[in-house]
Amino acid sequence: MIPAAFEYLVPTTLDEALSALSTHTDAKILAGGHSLIPAMKLRLASPKYLIDISRISDLNYVRESGGQILIGAGTTHYQIESSTLLKEKCPLLTETAPYIGDVQVRNRGTLGGSLAHADPAADWPAAILAVGAEINVRSSRGERTLKAEDFFVDMMTTALQPNEILTEIRIPIPPQRTGSAYEKVKQPASGFALVGVAVQITLDTNRTCQRVQVGITGLAPKPFRAIGVENMLKGKVINDQLLAQAAEKAADGVDPLSDIHASAEYRSHLARVHTKRALQRAVSRI
């Protein structure tokens, strides 16, 4: 439980952080530290440099701009949980946040940190996929914006380049008649998701599905959009039976994880059951 030696850098601006990142090889960005520090204590990670971005104040905000909600990467889980703007405009995020860790964890851990770490059982990726977010990243040479589904590459692997820092999450404000829900089965020891399903669905006045996005975490090496489920619902008039049938597709085409906490078979089953429940709950909220 004792990490190897490292150099600790504390930039106060994003430019300083990006410059530090480009000059030091074997550097890791430290935000809330809830994934990186335990990994370092177990010596699963032994970076030479830690660049602590928690003092950079312009990474910490939730604001509305041009039909989008912008969230700074350094915004803590608790700030999201307690954001009145999000509660009103994008309640899936305020519903998801309390499922993460405990209050102490949520007061330190950040949205950007969680996404960049890309733990296959983290909660945020499911919600971020379901709200159709874009992810803004910057390096000392410029910036680029990725769709959430392009950001997650594999287990603990994202599209971030070594010289890039995740800076902002951009969420389109959902239209009227949108409902959302997050369903999670916790792995009892860690509290991470055995399976987490986030749903955001928009119906017209005839209950025809205009848009639906289903993000699933915990099931596969990386969080994913359950396209099979979405395709069965899009353009259709929604009823409970259709939701249940669509939910049966939740684990299609993925290679489910299996460990001492849940077999691939059970994880897949949970994904189907909780996709159904999340869909039902989301629809009931419209």
């Binding site: 439980m1 177990l42 860690s190 049966e248 059970y266 089953h269």
Partner: protein, 784 residues
């Protein structure tokens, strides 16, 4: 009129310092120039060590020593096991192993450095040439012919066979209407004290009179002192052991570990203070585990539910070596195999088995939870087999209240009990009849509700010395200081039980003082007379009784002084509100302070009386005590996912007289949490290569607050006559009662599907699979 303190809800004196973080644990103790130890531990479950190269580690700046088995061979003795049984194979093991390693986490090298970080860094510079050997982690496989052997010299992995029996078991089975059989796995769990183990040692060389001081997180400081003195060939009076604040033990700190001798040895050898604080991963790897039994049960029953015989074969996983008490733990399962029932014919055979895992030893309940689990699961299996209500089967077999003292078929004498009353109280509390009706209705609607009952009796207050490995008495000193304030010294060194409060209640009540007037000291062998420690729910029943007896002695002396000062007869003097006076003449009084001062100034001593007001008592109990109770769990199971939700949890415990209702509640709360943890969440898992898969809190689940139901607690009070306080002990009751209650509830929820057993921990996936297997036509339910 003074307030009576015994029996009240008194907030613990310990809690302010614990809550505000001002308590001192071993790691909080700072000594100048302290050096730190890091252990290199085996990464293999079974391997030959061809070579350990420590040369690079020794070169790291800051490292002062790196030791391996070769450095302690012939210097340190093998670690002791005092809880032996006849005719057992006893393998030797040392604080640092050499030649061969037999479990993941076994210490093979120790680095000492002037900095904790350097010590850890140095571990990465040690090169070990391992030659992996075949591994066996499964007890049943370990007993098969051709299994890999942990000890070639024994030719088997069986460590011992221990048997107990009573009555005529063969006849019972001949006369039975039927035989109910069960195979139960009582899985391996980890005790997980929140404070891991920690040892700090300092040797002060004073020429000929060197003195060794060892701070260690232990439940048995005096036992550790004797052991260290023996292991290091030191005179015991020059060894001082201090158990400062101890953050939980749960039995795993009744042990004597290699680190507890190696750290003192290093402090002497290197002439610097040396500290080691166990990490959590080390704690899960190398601190005693608990349980790990397989029970093959055969119950001979009559059609009316009467149990006429019980035959059990137990495989008890010892792990790779015996720790201090390992073999004796499953023998407690045997002793308690009758439980609260009148089963006249019993037999148990226990096979201790070596596997490539950490040793098992005492864990909260230590052998008795296993007995209660196998009995209470059997009672439910009998009820299911005969289509009887589980309550009826229990009531039919209970020992009757008028049969106490009751001698069991295993030779124990139960002191007192009223098992029917506790069960009935629990049934009334939960609303049993109505619940059963509701369960029936909900089943018809496809909802799975289960009611689980567990009636237990346990053996506590360890215990008569003749029946215990290390002496079963306890000591106490009550010292009234010259100003009338009181210091109590107890040999029952606590690790969270609250003796500073409960023992102060006993003394304050007896002397007519307030809680603030009493201080209870413990845990320092230089301060406290020799004592045994805190385990086996003995602190109040044995340690508290010692306090009570010392109190009577000191009161007798104070009475003599008071009578002398008041010039009255000593008979009929009472202690109240800080004064001593004749009961029939309260006006004629002297304060305890005046009495104390007189006793120490000694200017006018009563005849034949020494100065001072101090008394010590060593209490040897004449029997164990046998607390009991009934726990009832009510659960809902999600038929679609197997997830469990608690509806109710009712516990009716009887621990005899109650000293402090709050601390009793606390013990029951914690006990239920741990027992429920075993039922639903906890399991130490090794893979077939002996790798520990549950090596951190990411994978080993101890229950958190949100996992627990609301505890509805009640009590019956059936005092014991074993001790003058009438107390029995309650430290382990919750752990013993809860596990089968929860499992029985889950099985009961699925009973209508024909489910008779699921082994712990009852993970939702197992339940889901069981539902699928037993209700194949319904398949996964799609709610349309």
């Amino acid at each position: 009129m003074a307030t009576k303190l015994i029996g009240e809800r008194i907030k613990r004196k310990e809690d302010p310092r614990l809550i505000t973080g001002t308590a001192s644990y071993v790691d909080d103790i700072k000594l100048p120039n302290v050096h730190h130890v890091a252990f290199l531990r085996s990464i293999y479950g079974h391997a030959k060590i061809n070579k350990i190269d420590v040369s690079e580690a020794r070169k790291l700046p800051g490292v002062v020593a790196v030791l391996t088995h070769d450095d302690i061979k012939g210097v340190l003795k093998p670690m002791p096991c005092v809880g032996g049984v006849p005719d057992m194979h006893t393998p030797e093991h040392y604080p640092l192993s050499g030649g061969k390693v037999r479990f993941v986490g076994e210490a093979i090298a120790a680095v000492v450095a002037n900095d904790r970080y350097v010590a850890r860094d140095a571990l990465d510079l040690i090169n070990v040439d391992y030659e992996p050997l075949p591994v066996v982690v499964d007890m049943e496989k370990a007993l098969e012919k051709g299994a890999p052997l942990l000890y070639e010299e024994y030719g088997e992995n069986r460590g011992f066979t221990w048997k107990i029996s009573g009555g005529d078991i063969d006849k019972a089975f001949q006369e039975a209407d039927r035989v109910v059989k069960l195979r139960l796995v009582n899985q391996r769990v980890a005790p997980i004290p929140l404070e891991t183990r920690a040892v700090l040692a300092q040797y002060q060389d004073r020429g000929v009179e060197g003195e060794l001081t060892v701070w260690t997180s232990t439940q048995i400081p005096h036992g550790i002192r004797t052991s260290i003195a023996g292991m290091l060939n030191l005179p015991e009076h020059r060894v001082r052991v201090i158990a400062p604040e101890v953050g939980g033990g749960f039995g795993c700190k009744v042990d004597f570990y290699g680190e507890e001798v190696l750290i003192p040895y290093l402090a002497m050898k290197l002439k610097v203070p040396v500290k080691w604080v166990e990490g959590r991963r080390e704690n899960i790897q190398a601190t005693d585990h608990g349980r790990d039994q397989i029970n093959y049960i055969e119950a001979a029953v009559k059609n009316d539910g009467t149990v006429v015989g019980l035959r059990v074969k137990v495989l008890a996983d010892m792990g790779a070596y015996y720790q201090l008490l390992s073999p004796v733990i499953p023998t407690l399962t045997g002793l308690m195999m009758c439980g609260p029932y009148k089963i006249s014919n019993v037999s148990m055979e226990v096979l201790g088995v070596f596997t490539n895992k950490m040793a098992t030893d005492a864990y909260r309940g230590a052998g008795r939870p296993e007995a209660t689990y196998l009995l209470e699961r059997t009672m439910d299996a009998i009820a299911a087999e005969l289509n009887l209500d589980p309550v009826e089967v229990r009531m039919k077999n209970f020992i009757q209240p008028n049969e106490f003292p009751y001698k069991t078929a295993t030779g124990l004498v139960y002191d007192s009990g009223n098992y029917q009353a506790a069960l009935q109280k629990a049934l009334d509390h939960v609303g049993y009849t109505k619940l059963r009706e509701e369960q029936k209705k909900l089943r018809e609607q496809g909802q799975y509700v289960g009611i689980g009952i567990s009636s237990y009796v346990e053996i506590c207050a360890f215990g008569p010395s003749a029946a215990t490995a290390t002496g079963g008495w306890e000591s106490a000193t009550v010292r009234i200081e010259p100003t009338g304030k009181v210091t109590v010294l107890t040999g029952s060194s606590p690790h969270g039980q609250g003796q500073e409060t409960t023992f102060a209640q006993i003394v304050a009540d007896g002397l007519g003082l307030t809680m603030e007037d009493i201080t209870v000291q413990h845990g320092d062998t230089a301060v406290v007379q020799y004592g045994i420690g805190t385990f086996g729910s003995r602190a109040t029943a044995v340690g508290g009784t010692a306090v009570y007896l010392a109190l009577q002695k000191v009161k007798e002396k104070a009475t003599k002084f008071a009578a002398h000062m008041l010039k009255v007869d000593s008979k009929g003097l009472v202690f109240r509100d800080g004064k001593i006076f004749p009961e029939n003449n309260p006006e004629k009084s002297v304060t305890l302070t005046e009495v104390a001062l007189a006793a120490y100034l000694a200017k006018d001593l009563p005849p034949d009386t020494e100065p001072g007001l101090v008394a010590t008592a060593f209490y040897e109990p004449k029997n164990f005590t046998f607390p009991f109770g009934t726990h009832i769990a009510v659960v809902d199971i999600d038929p679609e996912t197997g997830q469990i939700k608690f509806r109710r949890y009712v516990a009716v415990d009887d621990c005899g007289n109650i000293i402090n209702m709050l601390t009793v509640h606390g013990q029951v709360h914690g006990g239920i949490a741990q027992g429920l943890g075993q039922a639903l969440y906890e399991e130490v898992v090794y893979d077939e290569n002996g790798q520990l898969l549950t090596g951190s809190f990411m994978d080993y689940c101890i229950p958190k607050a949100h996992h627990l139901p609301k505890f509805e607690l009640d009590y019956t009070v059936t005092p014991t006559n074993v001790n003058p306080l009438g107390v029995k002990g309650v430290g382990e009751a919750g752990t013993i009662g809860s596990t089968p209650a929860v499992v029985n509830a889950v099985i009961d929820a699925l009973a209508h599907l024909g489910v008779r057993n699921i082994d712990m921990p009852l993970k939702p996936e197992k339940i889901w699979k069981t539902i699928k297997e037993h209700a194949p036509k319904k398949g996964p339910i799609i709610v349309a």
